[in-house]
């Protein structure tokens, strides 16, 4: 699994832009966890990363929007510090609800 950080800036001046924003957000939600408003932490396999990148590129408008994919260094718990309100859930840990 590869840990990623995805951030985006989608122009919301027009209604088409607002629609793009919703759709980009949806693609990100489908793959990982929202940690801040337009910041996602995602862990995927190589194959899933290809699909994710493809879907993001098809939703965005390259002249108006910007999407950045950063690879996080693993293990996450050593290299990510989070302060304040944090809803992140480690999906590798036992999931008992």
């Amino acid at each position: 699994m590869i840990d990623l950080l995805i951030t985006y800036d989608v122009s919301t001046d027009t209604s088409a832009g607002r629609r793009r924003l919703r759709r980009v957000a949806k693609v990100c939600v489908a793959h990982g966890q929202r940690v801040q408003h337009s910041v996602f932490e995602i862990s995927v396999t190589e194959v899933q990363l290809l699909a994710l990148r493809e879907r993001l590129l098809s939703e965005m408008d390259p002249t108006e929007d910007s999407i950045r994919i950063y690879r996080l260094r693993q293990p996450r718990e050593r290299f990510v510090e989070a302060f304040g309100r944090d809803g992140y859930r480690d999906l590798g840990a036992p999931l008992i609800l």
Partner: protein, 342 residues
């Protein structure tokens, strides 16, 4: 090779699970409790009054991620049957093997041998840590089981194998409570009773075995074996005989060890049990949660598999074993090699 994904266990009563954006969304009383991307899960196990939306069930089934329904107390009720993958030729080979008494006997023998060896290892390991007065009894039980391993090659029918296995099981469970080092006055084991459990240890064992049986059934399905056609266990309608066969050698390693560890570390205490009238015992919700967490953590622990020579997460051992059995049934391997824990 399969990777070890996570299983979602939901035991909060009145939860509602539904599909949202390729995520499992868990709501309790209308409030969102979790959003879990599907690609992190390889199955969902729900306890009692938990509702799943039809879209979620179908999505999971299409992705070959089974849903298992257990009662609130952990008794198996149902499981989604995902489209049978795998090779029809493999299943034909499996059926041919069960129809051949000689080959059935051979597989049953190896399965039983694996179980007995692992019981012995468990006893000896506990003997090293046990109090001075208990250690000799545990070692004696290990020797008794070892003697039964020696008798196995003489068995001429599967029934005899079952008899030998039963004798070993009696020696094993007779001394089971001597492997405990905490709360001994509370944890006792009369004899193995399945339903209902008459004492706390039986209650825990039944619970853990149910979960393990589900995992073994999944492993059979994934490899493409028919989980109902077994060798050591008799064929009976609705019984997952092959899953039970596969589970035998893993009982001492995965289930019994977990129970012993939890009791000895005092993570499971008398407070985790409810004693009912009429001498039945059940686990409390907290107790079940403790067990689930421990089992799930142990699944990630890597063990050395002596046959593949690789370090493998314990949770994938059922899959490795199912694959080895499939190789034997197809004729690529002269016999089925059981998993022997060190």
């Amino acid at each position: 090779m399969r990777t070890l994904l996570n299983t979602l266990y939901v035991q909060t009563q009145k939860s509602y699970l539904h599909l949202e954006n390729d995520n499992v969304r868990v709501d309790v009383e209308g409030e969102r409790k979790a959003m879990l991307p599907l690609h992190h899960l390889d199955g969902i196990v729900v306890f009692g009054n938990v509702l799943l939306s039809p879209f979620l069930i179908q999505k999971l089934a299409r992705a070959h991620k089974p849903v298992t329904w257990l009662t609130e107390w952990g008794q198996f009720t149902a499981r989604t049957e995902t489209p049978v993958s795998g090779n029809v030729l493999l299943r034909v080979a499996q059926h041919a093997c069960t129809c051949d008494p000689g080959r059935t006997l051979a597989v049953a023998r190896y399965v039983a041998a694996g179980k007995l060896q692992n019981q012995k290892t468990t006893l000896l390991r506990s003997a090293r840590e046990a109090a001075e007065e208990d250690a000799p009894t545990l070692r004696q039980a290990a020797r008794d089981i070892n003697a039964q391993v020696g008798v196995l090659p003489l068995a001429e029918t599967v029934d005899e194998v079952r008899g030998i296995e039963g004798t070993a099981a009696r020696s094993y469970f007779e001394v089971f409570s001597l492997m405990l080092r905490a709360n001994r006055d509370f944890f006792w084991l009369g004899e193995r009773t399945r339903r209902p459990a008459r004492d706390p240890i039986n209650a825990v064992l039944n619970y853990v075995y149910t979960l393990l049986a589900g995992e073994c059934a999944s492993a059979c399905q994934t490899v493409g074996l028919d989980p109902q056609i077994g060798f050591l266990h008799a064929l009976r309608p609705g019984r997952q005989s092959l899953a039970l066969d596969l589970m035998e050698e893993l009982r001492p390693v995965i289930a019994d060890r977990a129970v012993l560890t939890l009791i000895n570390r005092q993570q499971l205490t008398p407070r985790d049990f409810t004693l009912h009238e009429g001498r039945t015992v059940t686990l409390t919700e907290d107790g079940r949660r403790t067990i689930l967490r421990h089992l799930q953590e142990r699944k990630g622990e890597e063990v050395f598999h002596s046959l593949t020579g690789r370090k493998t997460p314990l949770g994938l051992i059922p899959h490795v074993q199912a694959r080895l059995l499939a190789q034997h049934l197809r004729g690529d391997r002269p016999h089925y090699p059981p998993y022997l824990h060190r």
